[in-house]
């Protein structure tokens, strides 16, 4: 049975698993015969087959091409995913990353043979330090959560170094789950700070919780409700007065890049998601990169390697010792996500300082356009203006029988990827929309019209709820039974 809708029309047929295809002895790679040698395997040669399927190149290409056609991608549809910054992924970045002079470099070549690569790392470090106004940066974190871990490690090391074993981290209850998870990984206890009626951190509540055992506050700014923490200077002051550090989760940096110098907000450390703000592709779940800017106080504790520039050119300090006496250690293999850093730098050079500032402005403009255009049809918990994302809750669906989930699934049939659902947790049935700056007004107007029509339909009563509950209808698969998947996990194919 074929399925229609949003790019899937007539092209997508059922596609069997790789393991259900192919024939013995086949291969999609021609390899020469190995030279006849006496092996040096010490008797550890494998005895039986692995059980991998055998396919020719045409079969493999067809398999993966067909699979790709079942996916949405930012290349094909609008993803108003709050907190994700699904912006366009420029192909120039891909071309640059594939230059042999970058792609074919081994991380352990002598430094004299990779000065161009180290210079790429030096340049992106300089861009990020200049944009944020922060004096130091750790380039090795592999993702945002890894950057959080990196930053928290430096905070823990800094406090321990001072002889002050502070073990509490304060986290707003609107925070992304990685925040408390990262804190726990560094041996901290996590305590929630509530929001006030305006969707920002409750400053009085924060002050009450600060004490001699608080190591840091972790704050996302703009926050996960899409709002700028307007009391941030007071927050920073309170945190510092209590002897704690101020960690900023930079997931929403796209709202303020080029317009706000985050160092002047009083932050001590911030991770940056290159796969969000700086256009590197999401790839269906990575790879990302989470370089983390650091204050003077935290810089000595940064993880290895340290990139330095001296009379001998660019060098990597790869070991603790006199060169890096207080480093917290190594958090990843090799030197970091070089390919991702490279793509982000290509984007930065393309956009320039002026373009990045314009991008933030357009991102904020687009989000406010959505907020104002939809605030009557939907229900917004906080009055505008917002920053780069617009938050709604499910009050507009009250008594319709339609949930946030149903509403989001109905959007799919209209050719849009759903917005972020049920996050942040501080409002009921959250719908968080982040358009980014790479969407045209035309796309936004189409989206607005669609959402308004769906909202009206949801509220029309009668059988409307049934239609929403059945969505999506146009996709290769309808709603999937997640309960069964969790109760009886089948996580791999097995031979019959």
């Amino acid at each position: 049975m074929t399925s229609g809708g949003g790019g899937h029309r007539g092209l997508v047929l059922e596609e069997a698993l790789l393991f259900e295809q192919g024939s013995p002895g086949q291969s999609g790679v021609d390899l020469p015969d190995p030279a006849p040698v006496i092996d040096r395997l010490g008797g550890l040669e494998r005895k039986g087959p692995i059980g991998l399927p055998c396919l020719s190149e045409p079969e493999v290409v067809r398999h993966y091409t067909r699979l790709s056609q079942k996916n949405f991608g930012i290349d094909t549809v609008f993803y108003p995913l709050g907190s994700c910054t699904m912006k366009h992924n420029p192909r120039l970045n891909e071309k640059v990353a594939r230059l042999a002079g970058f792609a074919d470099l081994h991380p352990f070549q002598p430094e004299s043979t990779v000065q161009g690569a180290l210079e790429v790392m030096g340049q992106i470090a300089q861009w990020l330090k200049t944009l944020t106004g922060m004096p130091a940066i750790a380039l090795s974190p592999a993702a945002g959560a890894h950057g959080e871990f990196c930053g928290l490690m430096t905070i823990r090391a800094a406090h321990d170094h001072r002889g002050e074993p502070r073990r509490r981290i304060l986290v707003p209850d609107s925070a992304h789950g990685t925040n408390p998870a990262s804190a726990a990984a560094c041996g901290f206890a996590v305590e929630a700070v509530p929001a006030n009626g305006r969707g920002r951190v409750d400053l009085a509540a924060l002050r009450a919780k600060l004490g001699g055992d608080v190591a840091a506050l972790m704050l996302t700014n703009p926050n996960t409700c899409g709002l700028f923490e307007d009391e941030i200077l007071e927050i920073a002051e309170a945190v510092h007065s209590a002897g704690a550090f101020f960690y900023c989760d930079g997931a929403n940096y796209n709202a303020i890049v080029g317009r706000v110098r985050v160092a002047d907000l009083g932050i001590d450390v911030m991770h940056i998601n290159l796969h969000k703000t700086f256009s590197t592709p999401h790839g269906g779940g990575g790879p990302g990169a989470g370089p983390t800017v650091l204050s003077e106080a935290l810089a000595p504790f940064a993880p290895l390697p340290w990139l330095v520039h001296g009379p001998a050119g660019w060098q990597l300090r790869e070991h603790a010792g006199p060169d890096a006496p207080q480093t917290c250690g190594r958090i990843k293999g090799f030197h970091g996500q070089f390919g991702v850093l490279l793509r982000a730098l290509a984007y930065m050079l393309s956009m320039g300082g002026d373009g990045l500032r314009q991008a933030a402005e357009d991102a904020v403009l687009n989000a406010n356009y959505l907020l104002v255009s939809l605030q009557d049809a939907l229900s917004a918990p906080f009055p505008g203006p917002c920053m780069h994302e617009a938050l709604f809750d499910d009050r507009f669906l009250k008594e319709t029988g339609v949930t946030t989930l149903d509403f989001a699934k109905a959007l799919i049939d209209q050719g849009f990827h759903p917005m972020t659902m049920y996050f942040p947790l501080v409002v009921h049935g959250a719908l968080l929309m982040e358009p980014t700056e790479t969407e045209s007004k035309r796309t936004l107007d189409q989206f607005i019209a669609t959402v308004k029509a769906l909202a009206a339909q949801a509220r029309s009563g009668g059988e409307a709820a049934e239609i929403f509950k059945a969505a999506p209808l146009q996709t290769p698969r309808r709603r999937l039974d997640e309960t069964q998947a969790a109760r009886q996990p089948v996580l791999r194919w097995r031979p019959a």
């Binding site: 049920y422 997640e482 309960t483 969790a486 109760r487």
Partner: protein, 125 residues
């Protein structure tokens, strides 16, 4: 004769002599959605009142089940490990989690009775 008490975290405990049977309420199972997995305490474990004794997971959430009163775990309900759906189908019957020998039988006096719990959940809605 058995008597049933409730906590504000939506656990119930049915007392018979000095043994209490503990589970989660219908309100809790409804809020969680389809239960997919449970983690039960070890036999013989001493739990304090309000301590985390078990974990119940649905597709989208995980929740702690706290000991309504202090005691020693004497029995666990393997049936809900094998078939977690029992928690949804019969939360106050076959969907029980574990049994405790109460450290202090008088501790139940601090818990909610059925009327008070019903009032609590009505206020939540």
């Amino acid at each position: 004769m058995s008597k049933i008490y409730f906590t504000k975290d939506h656990e119930w405990i049915r007392i018979e002599a000095d043994i209490g049977t503990v589970g989660i309420t219908d309100y809790a199972q409804h809020a969680l959605g389809d239960v997919v997995f449970v983690e039960l305490p070890d036999l013989g474990r001493q739990v304090a009142q309000g301590a985390e004794a078990a974990v119940v997971e649905s597709v989208k959430a995980a929740s702690e089940v706290y000991a309504p009163v202090a005691g020693e775990v004497t029995e666990v309900n393997e049936a809900i490990v094998v078939d977690p759906a029992l928690v949804n189908q019969d939360p106050q019957g076959q969907g029980w989690f574990f049994r405790l020998r109460l450290a202090n039988p008088a501790a139940v006096e601090g818990l909610l009775d059925e009327k008070a719990y019903d009032a609590l959940i009505r206020a939540l809605e």
